[in-house]
Structure formats: structure tokens, C-alpha cells
């Protein structure tokens, strides 16, 4: 069942965006800051033009259309535990955390501070415990670890606390190889990893129209290793992309097609995800307005373009600009997440994050998860059949009766939505049962409880030592 859907863009309009991006790729080109990647594009018939220290590649339309054809429409994101395998395919949707937070509100003192490897582990454990998150994304950086090996530490913190499929930025070509070695150690060896890769990378094109060296290196290594590549671009309308949303969509589409082409030219049929966290720049402040309504409209464009190409989409939405867990954070999360979901985005990421993606908050993750259940319920829409129309039951209860004791109610009541922390008690019960506590306070309590008591699937024997050895070797 596809449920409710936003259409909003016609096929003809999608063609127009596509053709504009194709013109950009063919005539303007994209800047490639890696010699190896330039060689790969050149080998497939792209024209290369020197620009400063690197090259601009001009990609022929036929290369783009071949590569789009080769990229798979559906694939499995494997968990360490097969029960967490998630099939990504047209019509599927799932949620995950937001990736680049640098700070957290301490789980116990609530003090705003720099985040650490332990915080990343705790947040991952919490997301492992919450069924709403089918896959995990790195939500904070291990800022207590060295920059060069931080992505390896991040992976160690993640894989030790979840058996779900994990996404995170591998940072460099070298780290890509090392993280795959670490992941292999956690699934009983490289042979098993190749059959069921349990980690995927995210990479970020730099708007406008640039693929940095690290971005190219990670794409190339991961495509060779059979790792899913999720390219997430972040055009800012008015600053790194045109002020208009259609223009922004053209720029981001060119960047994403450019990274898609690199994955497919490196290794045909590499699973690729078409991602964006684009939004506008507030041109009075000079800051990204992460939860602007334009973000919602752009996300519809992102999801629809990906559907047009037959590849999975990934939309950044739900991050709030608010510094606090407050009404703004809730409104902003809800508006754009609902739109991305209704547009049919396959992965929606943004949970747990405030301060424009700089601060992770544990209570926010708990409350986001509860609201996601509601949104998913709405998206599923209404089933209309003889059984759900319930004509016989209505006739038998007739006027003035009640439905509480009817068989039909007993049969269907468990499919009704359920509330956990969201409150609809009467005032007296609210005071007696939960002491009239604010929902945010209760969310922190739940987070503390789950982090303390949830036991993620243990790593196989020797995996921890193997990961430590790999990291140590890179830190000498």
C-alpha cells in the first residue's frame, strides 16, 4: 500500500529539470579535485578542462543515462543481525538520525558540551532500541579522538552499539578501506562482509558543482569494495545555488548525477542513494535556514527526481534551527518530515538534531521517534473495504448503542495508533500517574533508561581487539 502521497511535480517538469542538469554536466561540467577520478571520467569519454590545480569534467549525456540505468532501484541494507535487514525499494521509507552534530546536551547534567565517542555510542544504542529507526546514521563525531582517524573511531562506537545497518562518512580513501576491514571483523571476515555489507558511506559534493578529493576517493574505494554510496549534497539557495528552488534542484541534480556516474564508472551496479540536505541561506543573517519551508519543497523535488531515475532517495529533514528543545523544534521537525515522507523519500534523516544540525539531543530523538509513528500512520492512509466499512456492525449496534463490546472493535483495536509519552490523560490522572511532568523531562528519563538497560547484539569474539588494532596501526 503506497498510502497518501504528494505528487506536486509533473513528469514534464521533471524532464525539464533533468535536461537542464544534463546541459550543465555536458557544457559547464563539474570540478573534480582528484586525479584518479578525473582519469575515470576521461576514460569514459568525458572532456576534461584544466581549472587551477584540478580539472573540470564535461560528461556526455549518454554516459549519464547509461550510469543511471546501471544503478540499482532496490537493494538490501544488511544489518549485522539479519532481523534488521532493510530492503530499500520504490515505496519503502525509513528514518534515521542526523549526521554532523558537534555538541550534545549531556544526558544527565543537560549541560551543552562538545560530544565524545561515548556520546556517539550511547546515542547509537538508543536508536538501536527504538523500532522507528530501521537503519543508523552516525549522529555525532568522536571529537575526543584525532581528526585523521575520527571516522574509524566513529564506526567502532556505532558497530559496538547496534546490529542495524549503519551509514557514516568514511572521510578518506584510506579510512574507507580500514572501516571495511573493521566491519568485516564484526561479521566474521571479509567473505561474509562482501555477501552482506553492514556499513555504507555517505559522501558530500560541495555546491556548486564540485567533488572534493576526499569525496572522490571515498566514492572510488567504496564502489570497488561493494559498499553502498549515499551522496548527500547541500545546496543553499541564494548562496551556493540559485535563489529559486527549481534552479537549486538543477544544481543539486547535476552534483548527484556527477557522483552517481563516478560510482558506476568505477564499478557498474554499485548501489547508489540520491541524497540532499539542501535548503536556503537566510540572506539577512548569512546562515542556512535548515527548516525553512523551501527545504520541504526541495525535498519533494529530491524524492521525485530520484523516482524519475529509478534510484532510492535520501532527504534531510527534521533538523531544527532552535537551540532548545522547544515548540520551534517540534514544529520544524514535523512540517518538513511529514512532507518528505509524503513525497515518498526512501530515507529521511534529521532525527535528534537541533541548532541547525550542530547539537544532538537525546530527548529529541525519543520524541521524534514517537512523532514518526504518527506520521507513518497518517501516510499509510485509510483502508477502504467491506471489513473496514463495517456495515453489519453499524447496523447491529444501531442508534444509541456502543462499540466497545463489539467483536469488530476487538478485532481492529490494536491497529489504532498508540501513545507513549505524548499525553492525552485527564488532568487528575496526569498529575497522579506522571506527577504533571513536562514531556521533555520524561523523554530524558526514557533515554536514560533505554541506554542503561538496552543490550545491543554483542560483537563476535575478537572483533573489538581487531578494530582496536586497525585503529592503532593508523595512529602510529
Amino acid at each position: 500500500m503506497l498510502g497518501y502521497q504528494i505528487e506536486g511535480i509533473t513528469n514534464e517538469q521533471l524532464h525539464r529539470i533533468h535536461h537542464a542538469s544534463i546541459k550543465i554536466l555536458e557544457n559547464t561540467g563539474i570540478k573534480i579535485e582528484s586525479d584518479e577520478a578525473t582519469e575515470i571520467f576521461h576514460g569514459a569519454g568525458s572532456e576534461i578542462v584544466k581549472k587551477g590545480d584540478c580539472f573540470v569534467v564535461k560528461i556526455p549525456p549518454s554516459v549519464v543515462s547509461d550510469c543511471v540505468q546501471w544503478a540499482p532501484e532496490r537493494f538490501v541494507l544488511y544489518g549485522r543481525d539479519p532481523k534488521h535487514d532493510h530492503l530499500i525499494e520504490p515505496g519503502s521509507s525509513c528514518y534515521t538520525l542526523f549526521g554532523e552534530n558537534s555538541y550534545t546536551n549531556d544526558l544527565y547534567t543537560l549541560k551543552h558540551r562538545t560530544c565524545t565517542k561515548k556520546d556517539l555510542g550511547d546515542a547509537t544504542r538508543l536508536a538501536d532500541a527504538l523500532d522507528e529507526f530501521a537503519i543508523i546514521e552516525k549522529c555525532m563525531g568522536s571529537r575526543d579522538k584525532p581528526a585523521e582517524t575520527q571516522s574509524m573511531h566513529n564506526y567502532e562506537a556505532i558497530v559496538s552499539n547496534t546490529s542495524k545497518h549503519a551509514f557514516h562518512g568514511f572521510f578518506s580513501g584510506r579510512n574507507s578501506i580500514k572501516i571495511v576491514e573493521m566491519a568485516a571483523a564484526c561479521v566474521g571476515g571479509m567473505e561474509n562482509f562482501i555477501k552482506r555489507p553492514c556499513v555504507s558511506t555517505t559522501v558530500c559534493p560541495t555546491s556548486p558543482l564540485t567533488l572534493s578529493k576526499n569525496c572522490c576517493d571515498v566514492i572510488i574505494e567504496c564502489s570497488r569494495l561493494g559498499v553502498v554510496v549515499c551522496s548527500i549534497t547541500m545546496p543553499l539557495s541564494g548562496a551556493t545555488a540559485p535563489t529559486t528552488i527549481a534552479g537549486t534542484l538543477v544544481v543539486q541534480n547535476a552534483e548527484l548525477l556527477g557522483s552517481l556516474v563516478l560510482t558506476q564508472l568505477t564499478s557498474k551496479s554499485t548501489p547508489f542513494i540520491y541524497g540532499s540536505v539542501g535548503t536556503i541561506m537566510d540572506l539577512k543573517l548569512g546562515n542556512p535556514a535548515v527548516a525553512a519551508p523551501e527545504c520541504g519543497v526541495l525535498n519533494v523535488g529530491t524524492a521525485k527526481m530520484a523516482q524519475y531515475y529509478g534510484i532510492p532517495s535520501w532527504c534531510g529533514s527534521g533538523v531544527s534551527g532552535s537551540k532548545l528543545m522547544d515548540v520551534q523544534a517540534a514544529y520544524e521537525f514535523n512540517t518538513n518530515t511529514a512532507i518528505a515522507l509524503l513525497a515518498g523519500s526512501n530515507v529521511i534523516y534529521g532525527c535528534g538534531s537541533i541548532e541547525s544540525g550542530l547539537t544532538f539531543d537525546f530527548a529529541k530523538l525519543i520524541l521524534d521517534a514517537e512523532q514518526l509513528r504518527n506520521l507513518k500512520w497518517i501516510k499509510n492512509g485509510m483502508d477502504i473495504s467491506d471489513e473496514t466499512i463495517a456495515l453489519e456492525t453499524i447496523q447491529s449496534v444501531s442508534s444509541g448503542g456502543e462499540y466497545l463490546s463489539s467483536k469488530h472493535t476487538l478485532k481492529h483495536m490494536k491497529s489504532m495508533s498508540q501513545r507513549d509519552l505524548f499525553d492525552c490523560m485527564d488532568r487528575d490522572t496526569w498529575v497522579k500517574k506522571i506527577g504533571g511532568k513536562d514531556i521533555i523531562e520524561r523523554a530524558y528519563e526514557k533515554a536514560r533508561f533505554l541506554i542503561k538497560n538496552h543490550k545491543p547484539m554483542a560483537l563476535p569474539e575478537g572483533a573489538e581487539d581487531a578494530m582496536e588494532a586497525i585503529i592503532n596501526e593508523c595512529e602510529i
Partner: protein
């Protein structure tokens, strides 16, 4: 004595980004025998300051500020050409070298800082993005910078700001340049910890901090 209507119009052409009219004003004023220094000091300089102020108060959009800075540059060049003996109509308040640190390719924030500083009368050298520490220092010496401003958007590249402080100290250059750090994950605490002279939370704040460091208005 410069006409009051000209003073008012200089501010207006900057705010409304009317470059053609700005050029016309300069030409007319100079051909009427007006003093170029007076035109700058009483007209365009207060005008550009007002523009920066309006932006700071959220009344003006960033692209309007950028246009105003560009017009200001054209006007300054025109006035300078008419002056003999290398006297500059607009004495620069100081020279700022600005760069995004090595490993970091994000520079849109830095571009805003460059525009705003130019609008405020600083000479700005933009060294670009992904710039190595040694390169930053060499350029600062070459252009005789007063200020080195670095930006880092990633927590993994923030340590390069610290490296800059370490190298400046070890090479005995710490007193020669004042350093300002910025970027989304950067905090005042980080600036204090690494020994930077100032932390700038945004472009406007950066201008204020630089004015303080150089004791200029």
C-alpha cells in the same frame, strides 16, 4: 562644503545598488571642482557604514551588501585616480588575510566575511579554501597582514586553527599578526584554548572583533 543632497544620495545609491548613478555622482562632483576627499569622508564612507549597519540590524539582504561593497570599490578607485602623490582617499583600516583551513572545502561563510570586511574599509586578501598552515603564514608575511582570520566548518579540521597558533608561536610571529577564528562548530572556548586573539560568531561580529583588535572605528 559638500551639498547635503549629495551626502544623502551617496548613501542611497549604495543601499539601492545603483552603480551607474554612483559613478555619475563621482564624475559630476569632481568635474564641478569638488574635493575628492570630502566626497569620500562625508559621502561614501558614512554611506557604506550605514549599509553595514543596516545589514547588521537585519534590514538589508546579504546580496545588497555585496553590491554596495562592489560599488564602493569602483568609487574608491575613481577617486584615487584623481589624487596625486599616492595619497589614498580612503585610508584602509587594516589588512586582513582570510582562509578556510586545510582539509576544509567549505567557504560560503568566508565569502560573506570578505564582503562585509571590504564594506567596512578593510583590505582583504582571500587565500581561498583548503589552505595549508604554512601557506597561510607565508601569504600573511607577503601581504603584511594585520589580521589572520581562519574558518573551519568541520570538527575534524578545527585542529588546523590550533596548528596555526602553534606555528606562529614557534616561528616567533605570534606578536606580528592578530588571529581570529570562526566557523559553525567553533566556540569562544575553543578560541581561548588554542590562544587565538578573538572568536567571531558571524561576519558582523568578525568586523567588530577586528575593529577592537586594531583599535579602529
Amino acid at each position: 562644503m559638500i551639498d547635503k543632497s549629495i551626502i544623502e544620495e551617496t548613501a542611497e545609491v549604495l543601499i539601492k545598488a545603483n552603480k551607474d548613478r554612483a559613478i555619475e555622482i563621482v564624475k559630476n562632483y569632481l568635474s564641478d571642482g569638488g574635493s575628492p576627499l570630502e566626497l569620500m569622508e562625508e559621502g561614501f564612507i558614512p554611506g557604506i557604514n550605514a549599509t553595514g549597519d543596516l545589514f547588521g540590524r537585519g534590514r538589508l539582504f546579504l546580496p545588497e551588501l555585496i553590491q554596495a561593497a562592489e560599488i564602493m570599490k569602483v568609487v574608491t578607485d575613481m577617486v584615487n585616480e584623481t589624487l596625486s602623490g599616492g595619497i589614498n582617499a580612503k585610508q584602509e583600516k587594516g589588512t586582513v588575510l582570510i582562509a578556510t583551513v586545510q582539509g576544509d572545502v567549505h567557504d560560503i561563510g568566508k565569502c560573506i566575511v570578505v564582503s562585509l570586511m571590504q564594506a567596512n574599509g578593510f583590505k582583504v586578501h582571500d587565500a581561498g579554501r583548503d589552505v595549508a598552515t604554512q601557506q597561510i603564514i607565508e601569504t600573511a608575511i607577503e601581504i603584511d597582514a594585520d589580521i589572520i582570520g581562519t574558518s573551519a566548518l568541520l570538527t575534524t579540521t578545527m585542529p588546523r586553527q590550533k596548528d596555526l597558533e602553534v606555528v606562529l608561536k614557534s616561528e616567533g610571529l605570534k606578536d606580528r599578526f592578530k588571529t581570529v577564528v570562526g566557523g559553525a562548530p567553533v566556540t569562544p572556548r575553543w578560541a581561548a584554548r588554542i590562544g587565538a586573539d578573538a572568536y567571531a560568531k558571524n561576519a558582523q561580529d568578525g568586523v567588530e572583533k577586528i575593529k577592537e583588535l586594531l583599535s579602529v572605528e
